[in-house]
Amino acid sequence: MAKVKPRVKVPKTAAKGEIIEIKTLISHKMESGQRKDKKTGEKIPRKIINKFTCTYNGVVVFSADWHPAISTNPYMAFNTVATESGTLEFTWVDDDGSTYSKSAEITVQ
């Protein structure tokens, strides 16, 4: 996949205090750094997403450090408590320093 494209799924509305499930998926090669180029025999340099963070109105509610065994197109689902209306920001940090981000709005009644 040439272009990295994140997808997130957050419920649009939730009751206060409700536990909500958040799903994320990002297209990424996740090159582990352990493989060799079949033709030249040279190692393919590692290029993975090494950090994933989710903030809820600026507060980190979930984060994860990823390592080379994480699969291609990583999928991550987790739960959090709906506290207030606002924005969820998702950030993925690549080995080469680039970041991919996506945000979603939630209304808490």
């Binding site: 998926l25 297209s27 699969s71 197109n73």
Partner: protein, 268 residues
């Protein structure tokens, strides 16, 4: 020996009773994903894989489907057209199309697969470069088009002008080949449901293609799968889009006539 049948019936009854709750759920799934004797590969997949396919969000193929939707609107080629310029919204115009392919092309005098039809359209109507087989573009566009038929029964024509090509595909399917001297049918007819070392053999139904294969870490066409199968029996694979494979695709799809299109499916 009069007690014997009773004992058998009793034992059988107990067996059914014990597993009935889990079995009922499995049966409902089996019914949805089968048609007559034909059983979709979904029914052979592990629960974890089925779960991935059930949830459109967890199903990574949707990265390709989304890209396909973008391509549908993309103006490309000398004619300054996009797919949508002629075909409007794919949700309406492409509904049911993927379920019919491969179809007979009177112009070429042979069946033509969905991939080939898309490229034909690109070359003739859009005056654009054809996409390479298995390129992200062609896979995305094919998956996007066939996805519009999801839930509709596969219905390929095998009579009329298609007869000789259907017969050729059928002959290919039952022809032993390669160093292992195996035909498609040796696994997918004779041994469907049995293990081949660590893998469960399926009927080799094609209703979910193009599909996301965990082994591939991506989505692939039925011809890629054919090539993989041919290589596994140590036979020289045919080319992508070759007449042999289009005929075979026709036969394999016809085996799954009435199965529901699952594109994009997830398999191991």
């Amino acid at each position: 020996m009069r007690w014997r049948p009773i004992a058998v019936v009793l034992a059988f009854g107990l067996f059914i009773g014990a597993g009935s709750a889990a079995k009922a759920q499995g049966d409902a799934k089996l019914a949805t994903y089968s048609a007559g004797d034909a059983r979709s590969g979904y029914t052979y997949a592990t629960p974890a894989t089925q779960e991935m396919q059930d949830d459109d969000f967890a199903n990574p193929s949707f990265l390709w489907i989304d890209y396909g939707a973008t391509l549908w609107q993309d103006v490309n080629g000398e004619a300054g057209k996009a797919c949508s310029s002629c075909h409007d919204a794919a949700e309406d115009t492409m509904k049911g199309v993927g379920a019919r392919y491969p179809v007979y092309s009177a112009e070429l005098g042979k069946p033509i697969s969905l991939e080939q039809r898309i490229n034909k359209c690109r070359v003739e109507n859009m005056q654009a470069e054809p996409w390479k087989w298995e390129s992200r573009e062609l896979l995305s566009a094919t998956a996007y088009v066939r996805h519009q038929s999801r839930g509709m029964p596969v219905q390929v024509q095998i009579d009329g002008p298609m007869t000789p090509f259907y017969e050729a595909g059928k002959a290919f399917y039952f022809q032993r080949r390669g160093l292992l001297d195996m035909a498609c049918s040796n696994c997918h007819v004779d041994n469907a449901g049995n293990m081949i070392r660590a893998n469960l053999l399926t009927q080799g139904q094609s209703n979910g293609f193009p599909l996301y294969r965990l082994k591939w870490n991506g989505i692939g066409s039925i011809h890629r799968r054919f090539r993989g199968c041919n290589k596994q029996v140590r036979a020289a694979p045919y080319g992508y889009g070759s007449d042999e494979y289009v005929n075979l695709e026709l036969f394999v799809n016809s085996r799954g006539n009435d199965l529901l299109v699952e594109t994009p499916a997830v398999r191991n």
